[in-house]
Symmetry: C2
Subunit: 401 residues, 2 copies
């Protein structure tokens, strides 16, 4: 009797058998009397294969054409899922992003959803059809296909759930919920029954890899009730919502993010507005900067270090080098063999000892810290990537066992 | 200074090297100062691969979903060609069928073009861009993606040429023009400099495999000047237009079509309207019938034989069997190990000896004829498929050497 949006990632639909498994999950929900909208990503390695195909022909294709290419990946996966549901005898229709009404801005490769014209989705639901929607894609005002960038399919699912006022948005993944740490690294990690948007947001943006932060931010903004569940096992997942009954845990979880590169601008002239110019330069090109550290260097000069995702590293360096004359710096250094390890929890705000306890855990494990960043609800450190798993284990043992 | 539409088939863009080759051909035309619109099919075996993927999941998927799946094939090939042109530094944009303004009816799998809204294509040409359009696909009034069926990409190209009043529509293929017979079968076959629409139409519908009859019909209707050219060699092709200077050839060419299945309805009651009911039944389901032969059977009954393309054979038989009671016949027989071999030429209408000469060629080669069909400009025979190549050779030798 409810409206439920379900999202399945690429690994959940990687081959014919898995597509049929997803079809069964969807049909079960439909047969319970619910209206069901399903958002699907491209199958398995399809996106990477398409990128390889493009790079065989053009090392540096335009983002507009790349979006058009990548969007074909979901167009294939939605059809295959629809066909699997047809094969079981249930009414179904697949819709591309633009057919489903996704209107985005024109920022190819990393477009933002402006609105969803829900008419088509709602009219298909009225016909009692299961509606399969291509995640990750939309259409801009010029009728050009856009893609939403990282975490796009999660965001598509939450956006639909918000637009059609769904009762729940279920995100199906390889794991059966949100854990206090990655269970593949920390076997003693515990599954959480529930977590707040803010805690999930910290975990997501810190590389827990369960939900992308854009989707959690949108879920928070529109109060969409999320559930993170397993694609393969039929067990309760983790609910993400506004308020969670407080548990006696200082921290909610430990996360690791290896998709980090550090860039340092060494020897900047110490004059006003330099940081503004550096980061507005990057922002204009859609490069998100994460941890920022500014330090005083020698002779009245200063250094600025910051992190970006690995795929943005070369572009960021190129941008900065092109502006070397106006920014006035000595040199740029970079490294991408690093990892960001973080602890998250609303409980730490009133516990000044949390940071010290985390650093102690790392010290005991003999792990060196390159950079530190703290906020009210999380503490992140940058360390060598080959220490990352041991660091997660050590911190988890210290806090959560 | 002209507007030129170029169409490249799937084998012309089968891999990265071939895509780059096509990009060079397109750029050459653009650099001569022409406005260029390019229509591309899906790469090589992509369409077959997608069909296999679908059948792994559902033996009998809906045509609506199949069209959505197949359309992704051209979406990939147009982007790759656009990227190859970008790589060479020329302005270019790829457009799907619906972006290019193709409006079709809702006959999924075999849709007809109703109109082309040329606004987008023309505005991109105004910006001096090379425009790459996905062939074979369009959008119906419900915003569902459709495909045009066999010969769809040729038809897309001619339709654009007609809609934007192009000076020429060049169809690039594996061969460098239209020959008096398939050069792979008859090494002495000669390339024609020019041919009329009607002759091309006969050759196309008779299986010469160079141009699909739908595209030639449309070219004739809108007086689009066609040229059949080689994708790989830079030589003049064959021009297809209204009037061609008469050459001293009795016949224009020999064609073979192996995609033929014969169905015989044996022992039909000999009452009025039976043929009408049989063929309207098939027409309603979009099954095209080719050669029809009606003969008097025993005891006041008659037999009707006809041919369809192989992929329609089972569906046609099923339709007829479902109506066995109302049609009143004894049995249905069928075979698909046959070939249709035809000679074409405006010259034969005043030469009653042409048919006899053709049959003599087959008799000399010891080839048995199953069915004969004649019109003013062509003579077709149905023979065993394993005799087809010898038959083409024998007829070509008789007439054209």
């Amino acid at each position: 009797m409810a409206i439920i949006v379900q999202k399945f990632g690429g690994s959940s639909v990687a081959d014919a058998a898995k597509v049929k498994n997803v079809a069964s999950r969807v049909i079960d929900t439909y047969q319970e009397g619910n209206s069901v909208v399903v958002v699907v990503s491209a199958q398995g390695d399809t996106t990477d294969d398409l990128i390889d195909k493009a790079h065989e022909i053009n090392e540096n294709p335009s983002k507009r054409e790349m979006d058009m290419l990548l969007a074909s990946g979901e167009q294939i996966s939605i059809v295959l899922l629809a066909m699997a549901i047809e094969d079981r005898g249930f009414p179904v229709i697949s819709l591309t992003g633009w057919q489903a009404g996704f209107v985005t801005n024109s920022n190819s490769g990393n477009a933002r959803i402006k609105k969803i014209d829900t008419e088509r989705i709602l009219s298909e639901l009225d016909k009692k059809k299961i509606v399969i929607v291509a995640g990750f894609q939309g259409l801009d005002k010029y009728d050009d296909i856009t893609t939403l960038g990282r975490g796009g399919s999660d965001t598509s699912a939450v956006a639909i759930a918000a637009a059609i006022h769904a009762d729940k948005c279920e995100i199906y993944t390889d794991v059966d919920g949100v854990y206090t740490a990655d269970p593949r690294i920390v076997p003693s990690a515990k599954k959480l029954d529930a977590i707040t948007y803010d805690e999930m947001l910290d975990l997501a943006s810190l590389g827990a890899n369960v939900l992308h932060n854009r989707s959690v931010e949108m879920a928070k903004k529109y109060s969409v009730k999320l559930e993170v569940k397993s694609s393969f096992e039929k067990v309760d997942g983790t609910i993400v919502k506004e308020a969670v009954s407080v548990e006696k845990m200082l921290i909610r979880g430990v996360a690791r993010d290896n998709d980090v590169a550090r860039i340092a601008i060494v020897g900047l002239e110490d004059k006003p507005g330099i940081a503004f110019r550096v980061f507005s330069l990057l922002a204009k090109k859609g490069i998100n900067v994460d941890v920022i550290l500014q330090s005083i260097g020698r002779e009245g000069k200063k250094d600025i270090s910051f992190t970006v995702t690995k795929n943005h590293m070369q572009e960021a360096i190129k941008l900065l080098e092109a502006e070397k004359e106006t920014l006035c710096y000595d040199e740029i250094t970079h490294r991408d063999d690093i990892s960001k390890v973080s602890i998250v929890g609303a409980g730490m705000v009133n516990n000044p000892g949390v940071a010290a306890k985390m650093f102690e855990a790392l010290y005991d494990a003999g792990i060196n810290i390159h950079m530190i960043s703290t906020s009210e609800t999380k503490i992140s450190v940058l360390i060598n990537v080959n220490n990352a798993e041991r660091a997660v284990q050590a911190i988890h043992d210290k806090f959560l066992i």
